[in-house]
């Protein structure tokens, strides 16, 4: 496996927490993309932990500017490269958290998709605004306690279901949309490669557990990403040209595990009663039926 001896494109010494899912995702993704890549990054954990002046963990050209515009900055780069007669072999990627993708960055992302820029957007989904201290996002799942959706006597925690970002993205009829996790490395690499090779905009939505925000053991990050898929909490699929052509590539669970196994490893769900868990299970069952398994 010669690639593993190749130069790492995401350098060590970054300040991500121990066990950070984003770290695993970034190493995999940047190593797959390789050195001929220009990236933009949104404000968030990824940016603050990797760019503290005068150091940087990025071995590729990178620009961070603000929270909501990684896709617009990438649009400018893509057009400028084309205009200035470069051959078009350079990958252009935009990176953002779930906040920078689902919420505040959604308009810029939708614009980038619609204008058909040849940009791959990577969403690192840790299901809350982690950089500012675990506030809820439209990516936060039902029942999760966050600092702005705390569980309490009159609150179950987050009371809205997760926004279907990848499906909304696919509705833009763009060449490639996929969901992936940090537990399924081969699958993640394959999807990143497909996204980069697509002729036009692409999204890879990467599920990346956060020990600090989800309050789980630091060694459980990969296990939780795996469990999310095995319980049906997070469905792995890809869509080409807006069509959901393959629901679950290699990790369609033969027999879905009960969601409690996933929830009980995370203290953000510690307040949930058995009834709550049953309700969540029912919703997942319905969702999985929709997806066809």
């Amino acid at each position: 496996m010669s690639e593993k001896e190749d130069k790492e494109m995401f350098a060590s010494g970054h300040r991500m927490c121990a066990g950070c899912g984003e770290g695993i995702a970034m190493r995999t993704i940047l190593n797959e993309a390789g050195p001929n890549t220009i990236a933009t990054v949104a404000t968030g954990c990824l940016e603050v932990t990797t760019t503290a002046y005068p150091q940087t963990s990025w071995e590729i050209p990178l620009i961070h500017s603000a929270f909501e515009n990684a896709a617009s900055v990438a649009s400018g780069i893509e057009v400028a490269l084309k205009q200035m007669d470069k051959k078009g072999e350079t990958n252009i990627m935009s990176f953002a958290g779930d906040g920078g993708t689902f919420d505040i960055g959604f308009q810029a992302l939708s614009g980038m998709f619609e204008r058909k820029h040849n940009v791959t957007h990577i969403c690192l989904d840790n299901e809350a605004y982690m950089n500012t201290g675990i506030q809820r996002c439209s990516s936060t799942p039902y029942g999760a306690s966050t600092t702005t959706s705390p569980a309490g006597k009159f609150s179950i925690g987050e009371d809205r279901p997760k926004k279907p970002l990848a499906r909304i993205s696919a509705a833009h009829d763009i060449p490639y949309v996929a969901t992936a996790t940090i537990a399924h490395i081969k699958d993640l690499k394959k999807k990143v490669r497909k996204a980069l090779d697509a002729d036009g905009p692409a999204l890879v939505h990467v599920f990346a557990p956060c020990p600090t925000g989800w309050r789980h053991a630091s060694n459980d990050s990969v296990e939780l990403a795996r469990l999310a898929v095995e319980t049906g909490v997070f469905v792995l699929w890809e869509a080409e040209d807006g069509e959901i052509c393959d629901l679950n590539i290699t990790h369609k669970p033969k027999e879905r595990k009960p969601v409690g196994e996933y929830l009980k490893k995370q203290r953000r769900f510690a307040h949930l009663t058995e009834e709550h868990i049953e309700k969540i299970q029912k919703e997942i069952d319905e969702k999985c039926e929709q997806y066809g398994f």
Binding site: A18, W58, I185
Partner: protein, 89 residues
């Protein structure tokens, strides 16, 4: 105060320079590999958030300059070749 290095626009031309920052000091638990048991599947390499796993001729080794001791490698090792031990300082 450290010596301040100022560039126009704060542009940082030292790609990968975070390697100067050793995160090994954050660690409370330290991974150890049993070279005999290691099958070099490199799951630990793939799953290390910190790029602290290096391949050797017959097994793997840890770069303790950067390992933060999260324990993912030990947990994910399919042959239980890695154990976490309390860091002695």
């Amino acid at each position: 105060m450290t010596k301040v290095k100022i560039t126009i626009g704060g542009i940082n031309k030292d790609a990968g320079s975070s390697k100067e920052y050793k995160t090994g000091g954050w660690r409370t638990m330290k991974p150890e590999v049993d070279v005999e048991k290691c099958i070099q599947c490199l799951k630990c390499f793939d799953y290390c958030p910190d790029g602290a796993v290096k391949k050797t001729d017959d097994a793997i080794e840890f770069d303790l300059d950067y390992c933060k001791g999260c324990g993912i490698c030990a947990k994910e090792c399919p042959v239980k070749a890695i154990v976490m031990k309390v860091e002695e300082k």
